[in-house]
Subunit: 224 residues, 2 copies
DNA sequence: GGTATATCGATAAAAGAATATCGATATACC
DNA sequence: GGTATATCGATATTCTTTTATCGATATACC
């Protein structure tokens, strides 16, 4: 149980958490690293290493106690203390995020949404009110909001980002397909769909290429 | 110009591409690696290394020719040949993706959407028809679709995944917050929001913690 | 035309992650 | 109670990615 969790491990933790919750539902009590690895398409050594950084261990011959592991991961991820957030851009994507019930599990609470389009102002989505964007700064400062979620088109993303920074937000979750600039001390995490797509289509190209080879010369190797 | 692009580089390429397109709009012709790095919050060495794997280079004292670089990156990312895809789950998120015009830039073409909810069947979003999900297999096979995009709730994601595999899809882009199992030769890329959120909230916690320290003992170090 | 310099690219070093090895140990089973 | 074994965890190795160093060169400027 170390205090320093690597970024890669950190990003796998929610995966473990999700899986363990499912397991718990099916009344399982213990689980081994290799069983977890098997289910999640990882290898046991990696699972053990990841878990070593958040829990103080499993037992030989038994594995980990699911219940305890869930607690350990939740603590490591900070899901026990809730963060309030605002969302800007109540289009389809914005509404999708507003409607998603799962965020509370992750300690994220969207308190309100903002937009410029008069057509959606005062609409309520999943109990959350959509406000005129000029009320953003005031609300953020009053409620001491630290997280802003950007779901506006690329063209307006930078100006929204600037507004958020001015409003005292220090962490920004950006869904607009553009790079944002902000002061050094502001954390920006962009949900980079183009990057995902790049990975996906690269594999696809390789796969189709290797399948063609399979057909022509009978080579049966797998491209990974 | 190598043929082997690392995964990390691959994921940064769309970022460069986007930036270079912007630059081109503003009539710029050349650009240096350090200028790119500066704008995108990277370092020049990394930019040069990334670009070295797709282009055959810039010139001393001048930098790269923007126009050529754009072409090179597009080729590397395979944006010149279009991939057809289907989308399953026409909720808010699904509609957001259907409406997004940018995918064609990335060589992705969503040909149709599918859902089970009678309320949305036959609706047209951004020119794309929403069909009953039982028509999925037939359409995929007929049109030789290789990519499936999953935007259904977590509970149904696995069964949709299975259907896609049966229909001959080999690459799956999963937006449902759950881990999917599929045969080895199927490429699954999950858009992992929980992982992003984990990174974000970790930084946030560290930041708030370090700010408190700043206030109490005057320590002014930056946490990155 | 010659020289200074911005900028690149090749090679090397360092850091970070993933994987492998192997000994330790708690439980199950005889 | 003793022994075999499943499973973990510490340490070592390999692989990937990032960062550093430094020499090469094309252009700009004199």
């Amino acid at each position: 149980m170390s205090t320093n969790i690597s970024t890669q491990t950190l990003q796998r933790l929610p995966l473990y958490l999700n899986f363990l919750k499912e397991k718990k539902k099916s009344k399982a009590v213990n689980i081994s690293s290799s069983a977890i690895a098997e289910e999640l398409g990882l290898v046991d050594i990696q699972v053990r290493k990841d878990l070593a950084s958040v829990s103080n261990g499993g037992k030989p011959k038994v594995g980990y106690i699911i219940e305890n592991l869930i607690i350990d991961i939740k603590i490591a991820l900070g899901y026990d203390n809730t963060n309030d957030a605002v969302l800007i851009g109540a289009g389809n994507l914005g509404k999708a995020l507003l409607s998603y019930e799962g965020f509370s599990e992750y300690g994220l609470n969207i308190v309100a949404a903002f937009d410029t389009n008069a057509g959606v102002i005062n609409e309520i989505v999943n109990g959350k009110l959509i406000l005129q964007v000029d009320k953003l700064k005031n609300l953020c400062q009053r409620m001491k909001i630290h997280i802003g979620i950007i779901t506006v088109p690329a063209e307006c993303a930078q100006s929204v980002c600037n507004m958020l920074v001015e409003s005292g937000v220090v962490a920004i979750w950006n869904f607009a397909p553009t790079h944002l600039k902000a002061p050094e001390n502001i954390m920006i995490k962009s949900e980079n769909m183009a990057a995902s797509l790049a990975v996906l289509s690269k594999h696809l190209t390789e796969k189709i290429f290797s399948d063609q080879e399979d057909n022509t010369d009978g080579n049966n190797d797998e491209t990974r």
